[in-house]
Amino acid sequence: MIQEAVKSSSNSFIMLRAMVGIGVLCGFLIVVAYEGTLPRVQRLKAEALEAAIFNVIPGTTQTKTFNWDGESFTPAKAGDSPLVYAGFSDSGELAGVAIEASGQGYADIIRILYGYDPERQQIIGFYVLESKETPGLGDKIEKDQHFLDNFTAMDVSLTDAGEIANAIIPVKSGAKQHAWEVDGITGATISSRAIGNILAESTAEWIPRIFNHKSAFKQGNQ
């Protein structure tokens, strides 16, 4: 049958017909699958992000996304970036702001989310969004309770000049003395240091910005 088609003189028409036919059929199938799964995929992704925000800002029950346009924070529209997420408690009080940051880890880029409380001027939570760190070693940054305890009340208070008074620095495991130091993990030195450095870089940029515009978040909820 295939051989007959080859012999036929009008085989370019047959080829065209076959390709277009299959193309249309496949396109139709993909559109159906996309439309069919889209609502659920979007809901799952939003839920995952929301769960991460709840995780880094204790006491949050609702969230709102803001965009930094270079001068002020405004409620985000679709397609905006970079984004920060404000979390509010039941009574509508601002519980904290979640900020996304990323940087080079041991294996690949690590993406994290951390929570900042402008009232207490502290980092109040930390969550790894994405990392490819070595299982059993580097991935302790996600699970090691002692390491995560670094980020329950980490000092990022500002000086009068509007800069972070004590930059976050990673230290050797067990050597933490100040509230702005990140106590490392034995056996995951490189990954835990990477987290410290990512935080130091991100906080230096974002914390003064958020602190100076914290009223924008409070208004944003009204």
Binding site: I2, A5, G23, C26, I30, A33, T37, V41, A48, G136
Partner: protein, 209 residues
């Protein structure tokens, strides 16, 4: 084409069985090594990847077999790839809709099913020349054979590398994980080990036969 005699029926079961053992896509044909090595680090990932591949294989074999008189020889590879890519895309959406975490851990390897030579080779070597029924049986056999092989790798790697099986702890807390087994290098070691075992069994069989 189908004369429906006992003779062809006996052959049909052969089409199913061969993929599981005699022509196992991984252990005998050594096809589709990219997902075999990359996403067999846990039994769960291996199972998900095996099922996804088997589904794509089944659908592509079905469609290719149905359209085999409609596709001219000159554009057959392009057509097969188009069909395979369609079902891979659909699988990708479906997995995202099932679980974000699963999609994250399988990562780019879902899209890479497209270049799994197992699927193209079944379309080219079998489905484009055989009836719908036979093609489906062939896809099921090959798909399950692939799933079985991935699962063999995933189970060994998860048990040694993480001390768990489907996430359940198998050993006391003091168990020392062999971290290399979850890393890519462990995939190569485990595959080599299974190939060794399979070839030993085959040699024994041939020696006794």
């Amino acid at each position: 084409m189908s004369s429906g005699t006992n003779h062809t029926e006996a052959k049909s079961t052969d089409e199913f069985i061969k993929g599981l053992w005699k022509e196992n896509p991984v252990f005998v044909q050594v096809l589709g090594m990219c997902p075999v090595l990359a996403v067999s680090n846990t039994a769960e990932n291996a199972l998900a990847m095996g099922l996804a591949t088997a589904f794509v294989l089944l659908m592509s074999n079905t469609l290719v077999s149905l359209l085999r008189n409609f596709i001219p020889k000159e554009v057959r590879i392009a057509s097969f790839i188009l069909i395979i890519a369609t079902f891979v895309t659909i699988t990708d959406y479906a997995i995202q809709a099932i679980s974000v975490d699963l999609h994250k851990s399988l990562g780019a390897f879902i899209s890479l099913i497209v270049v799994n030579c197992l699927i193209l080779s079944r379309a080219e070597a079998f489905a484009s020349k055989n009836t719908l029924g036979k093609s489906i049986l062939d896809a099921l056999g090959m798909g399950l054979g692939f799933l079985f092989a991935l699962f063999c790798l995933g189970a060994v790697r998860e048990i040694l590398g993480n001390g768990t099986f489907f996430g359940l702890a198998l050993f006391p807390d003091t168990f020392q994980e062999w971290i290399v087994m979850i890393l890519p290098a462990g995939g190569f070691f485990t595959l080599a080990l299974w190939l060794l075992i399979f070839n030993l069994i085959k040699q024994r069989k041939e020696a006794t036969a």
